[in-house]
């Protein structure tokens, strides 16, 4: 049986080391290679080139010649960050051990339209309630008011049942999501279900599913629970938004966009309509980028930001008097 010994020993020695031969070799960890992989990953996976009318090949022509294999990490990072900046996307970041690249111009280039101090002191007052991250009260004139500053807060069914039962007898609801930078999409869905619960709320979603610019999954019609038995708000709803209403908060505005009983007052939302995904470069840096597109039934891409039905900027003169003219104007819509 010596032939068997030979075969078995061959197997043992091959198997102990052969996976290194079978599993693809690592790409070289050089500045040039990291840059190329970063560019190529976005070239194949980023869904908004056409929407943003961005020629990614031209971007490569501008930045690639500046890369050398002698570059320091900080210089390479800065160059990559500059390239990513051209995408104009708050969901695109490059994170390293020393920095996080970002494009926050989606709100920095626009009026703030928000002053929480005025809201807390002059509208919420001393006796407002907090549940699941929502700060809520009943304003004079029997108008419900909810300020929800982040969808990262934990939010459960009991929270929602209590809040909307408490506000059910008001004659209108102001749902303020200014400066809400997003968080859990599930929170956005659960809240949207409760606002005008009997109304249909649906939109479309597509995902990148291949390297081609037009490689997307077929559109999926997403639909929220139109259950009348949910404890929700049946009256008119006015959503207050500004440019810092982003990501999941932007999605909430997008879901309600086609609903005639939900008005939107303030500034256009900031966008952030793509669900982010991550990718790790050979040098360990992590790229975050949008990987999907949400689109209203009327054809508006969430990434562009949701335009208000009633555009209005915060009036600094009113602010000086302690009044938020967006809230005051919303009261007039009921």
């Amino acid at each position: 049986m010596k032939w068997f010994n030979c075969i078995f020993l061959t197997f043992i020695f091959v198997a102990l080391g052969c996976e290194r031969g079978l599993v693809r070799e690592n790409p070289a960890n050089t500045p040039q290679n990291n840059f190329d992989i970063l560019w190529k990953t976005l070239d194949e996976r980023y869904p908004f080139f056409e929407l943003k009318n961005l020629n990614w090949d031209s971007v490569y022509q501008v930045y690639a010649p500046q890369v050398t294999n002698q570059m320091q990490d900080t210089a390479l990072f800065a160059l990559m960050a500059d390239m990513l900046f051209t995408l104009r996307d708050g969901h695109v970041n490059l994170s390293s051990e020393f920095d996080l690249s970002r494009n926050w111009q989606w709100y920095l280039d626009y009026p703030e339209n928000f002053n929480y101090s005025i809201i807390e002191r002059n509208y919420l007052g001393d006796n407002y309630k907090i549940a699941g991250g929502m700060r809520y009260t009943i304003l004079p004139g029997n108008i419900g008011y909810i300020y929800y500053g982040s969808f990262s807060s934990s939010l459960n069914t009991d929270n929602l049942d209590f809040v909307f039962t408490f506000l059910s007898q008001t004659r209108g609801l102001i749902f303020d999501i200014r400066n809400n930078g997003g968080g859990s999409l599930n929170n956005a869905y659960r809240i949207a279900e409760r606002l005008r619960p009997g109304d249909a709320k649906s939109w479309l979603r597509i995902y990148k599913n291949g390297p081609g610019k037009q490689d997307f999954t077929p559109p999926t019609q997403l639909e929220l629970n139109g259950n009348n038995n949910l404890k929700g708000y049946n009256g008119r709803v006015v959503l207050l938004t500004n440019r810092k209403t982003y990501s999941a908060a932007n999605t909430l505005a997008g879901i309600l966009y086609d609903n005639p009983n939900c008005l939107q007052l303030g500034d256009r939302t900031g966008g952030g309509g793509g669900i982010p995904a991550d990718f790790q470069l050979p040098n360990g840096w992590v790229l975050r980028f949008s990987g999907s597109r949400d689109i209203t039934n009327s054809g508006l891409d969430f990434e562009q930001g949701i335009p208000p039905t009633h555009p209005l900027d915060l009036d600094t003169a009113a602010l000086a008097q302690g009044r938020d003219n967006l809230i005051e104007s919303a009261k007039d819509l009921f």
Binding site: F8, F11, R45, K208, N209, G210, G284
Partner: protein, 288 residues
């Protein structure tokens, strides 16, 4: 001979192989009977997954295995279920940050029939059908939105096995017998139902991005298993098991994974089951 076996482990296996082949066969196969295995071991994986990035990751995990093994004169059933937990990092010399969590699991079932024997029952060859499932749940702690990753291959195919029954000098007079065995399995799946993340997100629209039945070409899966069996005086067996598994899926993204597992297992004979025929076991009473 000028070549050298560098590791102690490979030297040990080499010596055992040489010594085993010189001894006589026992009248009944060492492998025959019903056994309930329990094994603990070490799992090492090297994988590349274009969903995560172009660079390979290396993970190391502790792993446990349970199962049921039955061998009769002409057939054998093998069921092994294993699972573990470990950490990993980029397979780069400079990367020490263990930011990858890994939960590997596998389920193997094979039904083999004896196809040949030589020198009494010293050498036996088996061939049959296979169900080989490989599953990994991974979390990349550096990722925010697409940190989790599930890869599962539920494969079927052909399975072959060679068994050696032998005797060797007894170095531990009372604890073990002089009987040794060696089993060498080759498992070759030919089709697989594959679960993988989508092109950019794990579960687009709440479903796996890739959930398809694939054949060779789009997937490749190969599994080797070898075991050194040492019979203890009390009827139990100690088995030193080495398992090697390679998986490749080339759909949506390239995914390649090489897996080494080394187990030390205790195989306890199940005497109650031994007394029953296979068909009785199928209709077993609750008291069994």
């Amino acid at each position: 001979m000028n070549w050298k076996l560098k590791s102690a482990w490979s030297r040990g296996i080499f010596i055992i192989l040489l010594t085993n082949c010189g001894f006589n066969a026992h009248s009944q196969s060492l492998f025959q009977g019903h056994y309930l295995p329990f094994a603990l071991g070490f799992n090492s994986e090297l994988f590349t997954d274009d969903f995560y990035g172009p660079t390979r990751y290396r993970t190391a995990s502790a792993i446990a295995q349970l199962g049921w093994v039955e061998q009769q004169e002409n057939y054998q059933n093998n069921l092994y279920l294993s699972g573990g937990y470990g950490l990993g990092s980029l397979d780069q010399p400079t990367s020490n940050d263990r930011h990858m969590q890994n939960i590997p699991a596998s389920l193997h079932y094979s039904l083999r029939f004896k196809v040949a024997e030589a020198d009494g029952q010293k050498h036996t060859f088996w061939f049959g059908l296979l169900n080989q499932n490989t599953f990994n749940y991974r979390i990349n702690n550096r990722f925010g939105n697409s940190s989790t990753n599930v890869s599962g291959l539920f494969s079927y195919g052909l399975s072959g096995s060679y068994q050696l029954n032998a005797e060797a000098p007894n170095l531990f007079k009372k604890a073990i017998t002089t009987r040794y065995g060696l089993q060498f399995d080759v498992n070759v799946p030919i089709g697989s139902y594959v679960l993988r993340p989508g092109y950019v997100t794990q579960m687009p629209n709440g479903d796996f991005g890739l959930s398809e039945h694939l054949f060779w070409g789009d997937f490749f899966h190969l599994n080797f298993r070898s075991a050194l069996v040492i019979a203890l005086s009390n009827g139990n067996q100690l088995r030193l098991i080495y398992n090697w598994d390679f998986v490749e899926v080339n759909k949506l993204h390239l995914y390649q994974q090489g897996r080494h597992q080394l187990f030390l297992g205790l195989y306890t004979p199940n005497y109650e089951v031994v007394q029953l025929h296979f068909s009785d076991f199928y209709f077993c009473s609750p008291g069994l």
